[in-house]
């Protein structure tokens, strides 16, 4: 080996060429290297030297170097009646691309054991292949699964012919069996799960099949699947397959193109992901009777383009007219409807071009099939997580002019999650074993890649299960639960997160029964999860337990204190106790400004939250300047286009509106709308929030037609991304009703207002301020319709209860009072009108 010039880049190149060469049959490797390196003699010599060394390493694994296998041209019949090892060959079963298969029986035992013997074609063997063969067969022999035809034995005949001995399987090829029995879609899924189970079991033994196809998946008379030839492909580094066609340097591999993954076609290294892809092709075929790509008329070069670049079609789009009969259904539409949705999603996830974006395992894929059979949601849907997370987050939020502002506390929470995650990371660095645990168990489960990686769930579930074994070490148990919980939080799986935090608390109780600082932090986490679940009262009481513990075990980290104060303030705010909330959040902000003056994402949150409670307390100018700071910090932290920035702009706009800065408000609303539409798409619940906030703003300006237009946009999403329980629906109806009133369409207006009230009564607990607000709004409508007798009791009762629920200074109270002023003015009761006017004026 040359000492000079051995740079990292050169070694990297050497390794790359060396590995490429190993993909070729041993006797073609030198030629391959000579072809790809015609000019660089030095590098060529080095790589060739490596290949020789590699052969030498192999030779050290047991066999003498001398025996080059002679190319005996054995015809099939020559074997019949012969005895090989302890087997006697009975008949030929068939000849395939890899070799000939015979039925044989064990000759030296009393009982009659039928086996299948496979003899490899001659041309690709050589000393290295034989050695590998002997080593690998040990691993293969260890594969023990009811759905895998076991490799019983293997050896080399006296004339150097390698062979395998396998279970004799009396069965029919998968597709033939399905068609002959006219299996229903459901039955086919059952067979598929057997296949997946076998593949999973082999993968766990680190054996990849690489050449799954219906021909080597047999089904026995009792309906049991048996996979043949497991791992054989790996014993044959470079057999040309009869189906492949003319061989080229890069394409001679042992696989069947129609079932091969893109990375196989390209000749890249393959792992278990290739088998997952093939499972996708098999499921496609089981469902539709066809394969995703028709490769029959393609040449090799085109084949790569088709498989590697063309997106796979959804199986439901490939249901032909003959299919209903084959699967025992009445119409194409019936078959399609069974496949569309879940099964489409599952197949397409398995057929993704990049191995890393497919299912992480055969088991995960099978689990989704099971979920489909059980009617549970499957993980394979595109962007399912993001969507679910947004939906869950959106479900947390509250209402109108005040509603838009309530969205502020929503972001607070959102940013709160990332804060939690950051804290999790800090603690994780301290908690020793957790680091290792995370690296290994959570792997790709990075909360930053939110929702993009659906296998995160599988990993988390596995991690949670593994953590079950840690009861004996409560501190570790608790740390791991925290980390898993934090990750669930970041994914929007609040229920699962809450459960993990509960387990963490149980572990802490085992560790220190009376509780300490770490117990307090676990309580804080649990409270946060409860907050997201909308269980504010529970969140509050859990947080009080944390506060009590922190009295005795103060946390020295000022940022931890800031987060805790913010959390308490948020919960109190959500419970409507704004006055108690304000000093806590103010203190949190002061801590943040003092100890983390450059942590803009934290400051954005705290400014925003304080802006929110300030507005709720009626301090409009103060709120406005806080939001100015919040938005500026968010722009510094996230740039000019970010979900968290949009979440602050939205309440900022409504503060500007309340401050009477109409044009500025209009600009900010439009910026928010554009940003959200771009970031989230036109059907997203958060985009819907912004639309009706803007509609409400337009309503306030008397631009009723514009307002009604935006409300109708929101209501188009009803039953799609917005369920009736979503507060945006009722709120948009209320705004639409008032806009119609404004355009004197009183009957239509009243219908929407009553529908809005009804939805709120259904979705919210009795006496909720949003219901009261709806009643007041309906009262306002009655005034406009001159139905004063109905209006008066409605308005007065709503105002009274709103004051109780929200306090004297809440904007909704002022709105309610202004409606009463309108009532008495319309009735000509000027004294009463003046009295209420004074009351309303007291509210900013």
């Amino acid at each position: 080996m040359r000492d000079h010039g051995l740079t990292p880049a050169r070694v990297e190149r050497m390794q790359e060429l060396f590995e490429l060469a190993l993909e070729h049959p041993s006797d073609e490797r030198h030629a391959f290297i000579a072809t790809v390196l015609p000019d660089d003699a030095a590098l060529r010599d080095e790589v060739l030297g490596l290949l020789d060394a590699h052969a030498l390493v192999d030779s050290r694994l047991g066999m003498p170097l001398s025996s080059r296998l002679s190319g005996v041209a054995a015809t099939g019949d020559a074997w019949i009646g012969q005895r090989v090892g302890s087997y006697e060959i009975v008949r030929m079963i068939g000849v395939g691309g890899m070799g000939a298969v015979y039925e044989a029986r064990r000759a030296d035992e009393q009982f009659d054991k039928r086996v299948a013997m496979k003899f490899l074609h001659r041309h690709a063997d050589g000393p290295a292949a034989v050695r590998r063969f002997k080593a690998e067969r040990q691993i293969l022999a260890s594969l023990d699964h009811p759905n895998i035809a076991a490799l019983i034995d293997g050896g080399i005949t006296t004339d150097s012919q390698p062979y395998f001995v396998m279970d004799y399987v009396d069965g029919k090829p998968l597709t033939q069996w399905c068609d002959e029995h006219r299996l229903t879609i459901k039955q086919r899924l059952g067979l598929f799960q057997q296949i997946a189970a076998a593949v999973q079991s082999a993968h766990q033994a680190l054996v990849v099949h690489r050449d799954l196809k219906p021909g080597n998946i047999l089904v026995t008379a009792d309906g049991r699947v048996k996979l043949l030839d497991f791992g054989i492909a790996r014993l044959l580094p470079a057999e040309s397959d009869a189906d492949v066609g003319p061989s080229t340097l890069t394409s001679v591999r042992s696989f069947t193109p129609e079932y091969a993954a893109p990375e196989q076609i390209r000749g890249e290294p393959t792992g278990t992901g290739a088998d997952v892809y093939t499972l996708g092709v098999l499921l496609f075929e089981l469902l539709t009777g066809t394969r995703p790509f028709d490769l029959r008329d393609h040449r090799l070069a085109e084949l790569e383009r088709v498989v590697c670049e063309t997106p796979a079609p959804a199986p439901s789009t490939r249901v032909g007219p003959e299919r209903p009969e084959e699967v025992g259904e009445r119409s194409v539409a019936k078959v399609r409807s069974q496949i569309a949705g879940d099964l489409d999603a599952i197949v397409l996830m398995a057929l993704r071009k990049e191995p890393s974006r497919r299912y992480g395992s055969a088991e995960a894929m099978s689990r989704d099939v099971q979920a489909h059979l059980d009617g549970h949601p499957v993980s394979g849907r595109p962007d399912g997580l993001v969507y679910r997370m947004r939906k869950l987050v959106a479900r947390r939020s509250l209402e109108t002019a005040a509603v838009t502002v309530a969205a502020a506390s929503l972001i607070a929470g959102l940013v709160g999650v990332s804060l939690q995650a950051r804290r999790a990371r800090a603690e994780e660095q301290r908690a020793v074993q957790v680091t290792a645990f995370l690296t290994t168990m959570l792997g790709s489960a990075n909360p930053a890649s939110l929702g993009k990686d659906v296998t995160v769930h599988e990993v988390l579930d596995t991690a949670a299960r593994r953590a079950d074994a840690l009861v004996g070490s409560p501190a570790l148990d608790a740390e791991i639960r925290n980390v898993i919980g934090d990750t669930y939080m970041a994914l929007g799986e609040f229920q699962s997160a809450e459960a993990q935090f509960g387990r963490a608390l149980a572990a802490h109780r085992r560790r220190v029964p009376e509780g300490d600082g770490r117990t307090a932090r676990a309580y804080a986490r649990q409270s946060n999860a409860l907050e997201y679940l909308g269980e504010y009262a529970a969140a509050d009481s859990v947080l009080r337990l944390a506060a009590a513990l922190l009295q005795r075990h103060p946390d020295d980290d000022p940022l931890h204190r800031a987060e805790f104060l913010d959390q308490r303030g948020r919960i109190l705010g959500r419970l409507g106790k704004v006055a108690e909330s304000e000093p806590l959040i103010r203190e949190a902000l002061e801590l943040g400004l003092r100890y983390a003056p450059d942590k803009d994402s934290l400051l954005a949150t705290l400014y925003g939250n304080l802006g929110y409670v300030s507005l709720e307390l009626g301090r409009v100018p103060q709120s406005e300047s806080l939001y100015v700071e919040a938005v500026a910090a968010a722009r510094r932290a996230f740039g000019n286009e970010h979900a968290d920035l949009a979440s602050l702009l939205s309440p900022y706009a409504s503060v500007l509106e309340r401050a009477g800065k109409i044009e500025q408000a209009d600009t900010v609303y439009r910026e928010t709308l554009a940003m959200r539409r771009k970031l989230l798409g036109g059907e997203h619940p958060e985009y819907a929030w912004t639309m009706f906030s803007y509609a409400d703003f337009l309503l306030g300006l008397g631009r009723y037609d514009q307002s009604a237009k935006w409300c109708r946009e929101v209501l188009k999403l009803r039953g799609k991304s917005l369920p009736d329980t979503h507060p945006a629906v009722a709120t948009a109806m209320a705004v639409l009703g008032r806009s119609l009133d404004g355009m004197d369409s009183l009957a239509a207006g009243e219908r929407w207002l009553r529908e809005s009230l009804r939805l709120r009564q259904q979705a919210l607990p009795a006496g909720h301020w949003l219901i009261l607000s709806s009643e007041s709004i309906l009262g306002g409508h009655m005034v406009r319709a001159k139905r004063f007798a109905e209006a008066e009791p409605l308005l007065l009762s709503a105002e009274r209860r709103l004051v109780v629920a929200r306090g004297e200074r809440a904007p909704v109270v002022r709105d309610a009072r202004n409606r009463i002023v309108g009532l008495y003015a319309a009735m000509g009761e000027t004294a009463k009108a003046a009295e209420w006017k004074a009351k309303a004026m007291a509210t900013p």
Binding site: M1, L6, P8, M14, A53, V57, L61, M63, P269, A436
Partner: protein, 185 residues
């Protein structure tokens, strides 16, 4: 070295506390040295010494039979591998100085059946490994952990923070690289 103390250092290693790996190395060195010395003194010419056995012995002594997370085990073995390499190579050099014309025999153990022991020149191997380390440190580390530490593919992957597939590839490549160096040395 008390088992508790080693465990504490291990925690530091996993926590990437600066200097912890060195402390662990020093802590286990003594033990390893004693075990290795005893093993090598009793050795017959041609006897195969498995570095893996050495590390295992040191591990049992250091940690005892208590169960510790396998991640800790991987870190321990990763550090021990370095130590073992030093001990074995120093030992081989010492012996060479004594002009005894035989080296230690160690095997490339793939953990697969039918492995036949073949002897290697440890000093030459160490030189080649240093050469590889200069241009491809990751690949060299894989060899150190697998060969001197007896770590499995997965454990090596964990200790280095790379994927098992990479470990396998690096192992095959580095093996060829080293043998090539040995053959042309």
């Amino acid at each position: 070295m008390a088992a508790m103390e080693i465990t504490a250092i291990l925690n530091d290693v996993q926590n990437r506390v600066p200097g912890a790996a060195d402390r662990l190395g020093r802590a286990v060195f003594e033990d390893l040295h004693r075990i290795a010395g005893a093993a090598m003194r009793g050795e017959q010419i041609g006897h195969t010494l498995q570095p893996t056995e050495l590390v295992d012995a040191a591990f049992v002594r250091a940690i005892g039979q208590r169960e510790i997370p396998w991640e800790s085990r991987a870190h321990f073995f990763a550090v021990a591998a370095q130590t073992i390499r030093r001990i074995l190579v120093d030992h081989a050099r010492a012996r060479r100085r004594q002009k005894r014309d035989f080296g230690l025999r160690v095997t490339f153990d793939e953990g697969v059946a039918e492995v036949e022991a073949t002897s290697l020149d440890l000093i030459a191997l160490d030189d080649a490994l240093q050469q590889l380390d200069a241009a491809a440190p990751r690949q060299a580390k894989v060899v150190e952990l697998r060969f001197f530490g007896g770590l499995e593919i997965d454990e090596t992957a964990h200790a280095l923070g790379i994927s098992p597939a990479t470990v396998k590839r690096d192992w095959i490549f580095a093996r060829a690289f080293l043998l090539r160096s040995l053959a042309t040395a």
